[in-house]
Structure formats: C-alpha cells, structure tokens
Amino acid sequence: MVPIQYYLALSALLFTVGVIGVIIQRNIISLFMCIELMLNAVNLSLITFSRYLGSNTGQLFVFIVMAVAAAEAAVGLAIIITLFRNRETLNVDDADILKL
C-alpha cells in the first residue's frame, strides 16, 4: 500500500500548481482550470484521509465538492462567454472597470 504521505504530497503539489497558476495566469480559462485543479487537489486529500481513517465522511465531502464544482463551472463558463462577447478578450487584466 502506498503510504499516505505520497498522496498528500501529490495533493499539495497539485494545489500549489493551482495557486501559482491563479496568480500568474492572465487567461481567464487558464485561471478557471487552475481553480478546478485546486478543488481536485483538495478532493484528493479528502479521499486519502477517508481511506486512511476508514471513514466515508471524506468521500461524501468529495461528492459535494464535485457538485459545487460542476455548478461553478456552468456559471463560470457563462461569465466567460459573456465577457468575451462584450470585450472580445480573455485577458482578465482588461476586465477592470470596477477598479478605482
């Protein structure tokens, strides 16, 4: 059996990639994918603990997260499409009219 540290290290690595992606990416679709990546990193660690502790609660959380992620993907993609229609760009730095 693969030790738990490996799973957690992978999860942390995926999460870090997601975070760094959110910070440095300008393309809104990449940002979106990075967020999904962070969610799945969290899912991975939840599954890991679920298995390790012999409890199903972690898996229930994962389902909830996946449901929320699906909903978020729907809304987020709708926002992206609207943004593109209005601005003809996917660069988040161009969508800054709320900035002072």
Binding site: V22, I24, V92, K99, L100
Partner: protein, 679 residues
Amino acid sequence: MLKWITLAPLVGAAICGLFGKKLGEKLVSLVACGSVAVSTVLAFYVFFAKLLPLPEDQRRLTDPFFTWIRVGNFQADFAYLLDPLSGIYILFVTGVGFLIHVYATGYMHGDPGFYRFFAYLNLFMFMMLTLVLADNLLLLFVGWEGVGLCSYLLIGYYIRKKEAGDAAKKAFITNRIGDFGYMIGVFLIFTTFGTISFVAKGSTAGLLDLAKAHPADTVMTAIALLLFVGATGKSAQIPLYVWLPDAMAGPTPVSALIHAATMVTAGVYLTARCSFIFVKSPTAMFVVALIGALTALFAATIGLAQNDIKKVLAYSTVSQLGYMFLACGVGAFIAGIFHVMTHAFFKALLFLGSGSVIHGMHDEQDIRRMGGLRKYMPITWITMMAGWLAISGFPLLSGFFSKDEILWRAFSTEALPGPWGKVFWGIAALTALMTAVYMTRMMVMTFWGRERFGQGHEAHHGHEAHGDDHGHGRPHESPASMWIPLVVLAVLAVVGGWIGVPAALGGANRFEHFLEPAIAQAPAYGQAGHAEIRVAAPAAEGHGAAAGAVEARTEEHHDTGTEIGLTILSVILGLGGIGLGFMIWNKNPLKPMPKLLENKYYVDEVYNAAIINPIHGTSKWVLWKFVDVLIIDGIVNGLARLMSGVGSGLRLMQTGFARSYAAIILIGAIAVIGYFAFR
C-alpha cells in the same frame, strides 16, 4: 378663578398673534382690549367679593392649576396666590393695563404691525399677572422672565430702527445680570428652607413662615442681597438702570405700561414679597435703602437736563423707583407699595400724555421744539397737569401722600443704624425738590411759552408707523380712544392717594392696614435677631426712645407733630420746585443745562469702556480668533486631515488586481499555517 385673570390675556395674545393679520384692526383691538377687560373685571371681582370679606389675617386665596415640577422634595406648582400684596398689584396692573390697551388702539392706529403689537401687549399682561400671582419663586421667575421677554419684543417693536433693536438687546442683557442674582438667591432659598413656595403646601411650611422663624444670619443677608440684585436689574436701580432710558425707543404705550407702571415695579414687588427675608438682615436693608436713595438722586439730576420728553419721564421713573426701594430699605415696604400704585397712576398718565403730545406733534419728541401746546391740546394739557402736580407732591394729590409717607418713614426709621435714616431723608427731600423742578421744566417747555415748532424743519416722520392719514402741520388733539384713558388716569392720579391718608393728617390709612398681614415689620436696628418680631411693645412711648420699640411703625408711635412738620416741609419743597421751574424755564425755555447732566454722567460711556469693550475684545481676539479658530477648528480640521491621510495611504493596498489579492491571501494563509506548524 384666579387663573382666568391671567389666562384671558394669554388667549387674547394667541388670537391676536395667530390670526391678527386676517382679523384687521377693529377685531384685534376688540380682542386685545376685551381680554384685558375680562381679567380686569375678574380681578376686581375676586378682590372685592372674595378677598376683602375674609378676616384680616386670613386673606389668602390660592388657585392650584397643576403640579409643574416635582423632583425629590423640590416642588414647584403652577399655582396662583392672592393675598393683599398681590391683590393690590392685580388691581392696578389690570386697571392701568386696560386703559393703556385702549389708548394704544388709538396710538398705534395705522401701524402695519398692529396685531403683533397687541399680541405682545396681551402676552405681557399674562406674564405680569403670573409674576404677581405666582405662589412660588420659580413661577414668579417665569413671569419675571416673561415680562422681560415682552419688554424686549416691545422695545424693539420698530424693527427697522437700529436704536430700537439695540435698546431691546441692552434691556435684555442688563436684565440677565440681575436674573443671575435672582436665580442664585432662589437656589440659596431652596437649600436653606427646603421650599420655594410662599405659603404652606401639604406638610411643608411656606417660605414666608419659615423665614419668619429663621434666625437672622449671614445666609439671610446673602439671600436678600442676591434677590436685590435681581430687583436692581428689573427695577432699573444703580448700577443696572442704564437700560430703562434707552427702552424709550419702544412705542409710548409700552413705555407707559411696562417701563413705568408695571414691569419695572416688579423688583419692588419681589422685595416686598420677600420682606420677611429682608427684615432679617440689617445689612441688606441698608444696602437697599442706600441704592434706592442714590438712584433717586442720581436719576433726578440727569432728568433735569434731558431734552427728549420720554427721556425725562424715563429718568423720573428710575428716580421714583429709587424712592420705592428707599421705602423698602427703611422698613416701610407698605409705603413703597403705596408709591408703586400711585406712581403707576401718575406716571402712566404722564407717559400716555407724552405719547399724545408726540402723536399730536407728528412724532416729535424733543421738548426744545415744542412749546405753547396747551392751545392745541387742551385735554392732554389738563390731564398731564394732574400727573405733573401729583408727581411733584402737590398737596392732596396721590403722589403727595405716597411720597410724603416715604419721606416720613425714612426720617423716623429705626431699621437703620445711627443717623442714616435722616441722611436718606435728606437725599429724598432733595430729590423731591428736583423732581418738581424737572417735571415743571418738561411741562413748561412743552405746554407754555413760545411755539418753537414748525420753524425751518418740518416735524419728521421717524416711525414708519404713523402713515399718511395725518398730514404734517399744526399739532392736533388726540382721538377719543387716547384722551379718555388720560382722563381716567388723571382722576386716579388725583384721588388715588386718598386710600392711604396717614393718621397724622386725619386719615385712617386703610391701605397700610390692609397690607399689613402680608408684609413683614422691620425690627429696630440691632433687634433683627429676635425670632418673633411682632412682640408688641405698646408701652414704649416716644419716638425711638426704647430699644424694645419693635412696633415703631404702628400709628400710635408716630410723633405726630414732627410728621406734620415734615409734611409741611415737603409741601414747601414741592411747591418751591414748581415755582423754581416756572421761574427759570418760563422765561428762557432753552436754557442750556450742564453737559455732564445732559450726557447722563457719561455712565454709558464708562460702562462701554470698562465692561463692554473688554468683553467684546476678549470675545473677539481671545475666544474667537484664538480659541475658536486656532484651537477648536485646529483640532477638528486636524482630525479630518489625519483621517484622509491615513485613508489615502491605505488606499494603495486596494490595487484592483484580483490576482494580487489572491497572492495576499496565499501569503496570509502560508503565514497562518507556518505559525501553527512551527510554533
């Protein structure tokens, strides 16, 4: 019943003030005079039908309205009290007030602010009656301030004239100084006696009885002096008299009603009302007498040299008020009240007469530009003669009896140490002479001699009040609504003194007997400590012989011979003054008077330099330019500047880049996790 005496004018004031503009002159006159007539009738009814039939020492009617303030053991009711003292006051306040209201309907005819004037005048009647009928010192203060307010409003009635506004402010502010003393006095009374009601209320005894039983200590002196400070403000005594002459900027009926007959005697009323406190303090009595005597003399000398007909009367009023306080100070409170009443008659008459002259002369007030008016205004002339002779002390007229009473009381007083009574008598006698002289001067310059008007300059229209309905030109007699009150007052000025004819002159002095239960007897000097001051000592015969002669003021102790002698002397003084006045001014009406007197001893200038300017300067340069602008504004503006500086600093954090927020969140999360991981 009592409350309707006061409430009727209040209702009148409300109607005139709220709807007067639409009602028109006729209806406003009707409402204003009618409401005062109602309270006059009620006052006479209550006085003669309710108060007089009571036994002499139980003449007290109360009319509780509602409990006004009750905090702990402090209680002030809105309640009215009628006793002989307030009885006398309501009679002449309502009576004279009614006559002046009638007069004012003629005098103010055609004035654009007619309704406003009568609303104020009615409000004044309400406040004045509240003042004299109040059953506690706080309600009295309500009336006290109320009449002050009305006085302010009416002095400044001609709102377009700057000097009227200035005079109004001066009156108001000068009175504030006196009111300060009054308030401290009332506080001290409450802490000393635990009540401010004059008569017993429930289980607490009344102030008058408590004061009677209280030992004569410093507290009593302090209370009496503080109340007297209030009285000097309201009744225009030295050093606070300066507002009264300026107050003549108001319409003449106002001068007659407020600044001669009623309001200015409120200080005398207060002194008489609190006589039980005053008699406990020889010091306070002495101060009252001294201030009164000095004011009487001082104002009379100024009155000698004034050229404005109303100013002459104003200084005369100040001087006569001084007489009243002199009477109070020598322990003759009743003589003071008697003079208040007769003075109300003849001074109201003189003021209304002067108003009639001013009206007939088309707003000319300078007696140097009058003369020979008796041909044009016979009624005004004859009625004013009654007032003039009364104030000068012509035998058997009202002023003769009251003034003579004061002179005799001052001469024979035992309430003052040593020869002071005689000294004050001397001052008062000199003042009596001067009173006759300056009144004669005013009358001669106005009614006798060569006509000095209409030469060169037309009588100018100072007030916008008197419109176009009477043209310029010859003086004319005033309308009936003005001369009828004059006639009534003239009759009163002649006969008003007959109720107080002293025993020495064969009278019964009903006035004094009537008032006696409500007024304290001043003990002989040095006897003030006796708790029971009414110990009759009928055995002590001979004036001032026995130290126990505490009842020295009752008739049987009068040295009748001396009294008659002094009476003859004051008659000589009065007639001599009149003769002197005629001799000097009939020949040369424009005889120049000393500049010092004409300029009122430069008291206003001294006050300006010594008090007003320093206060003004301090306010401007220290309080405004330094404290307000530099310190207070500095703190406020500095705080605002600090906030906006901090804000613009913090604003830099809000970049508007979502990613930088994310980075900050990340760093924060790492910091938190790091803290828990490595601590």
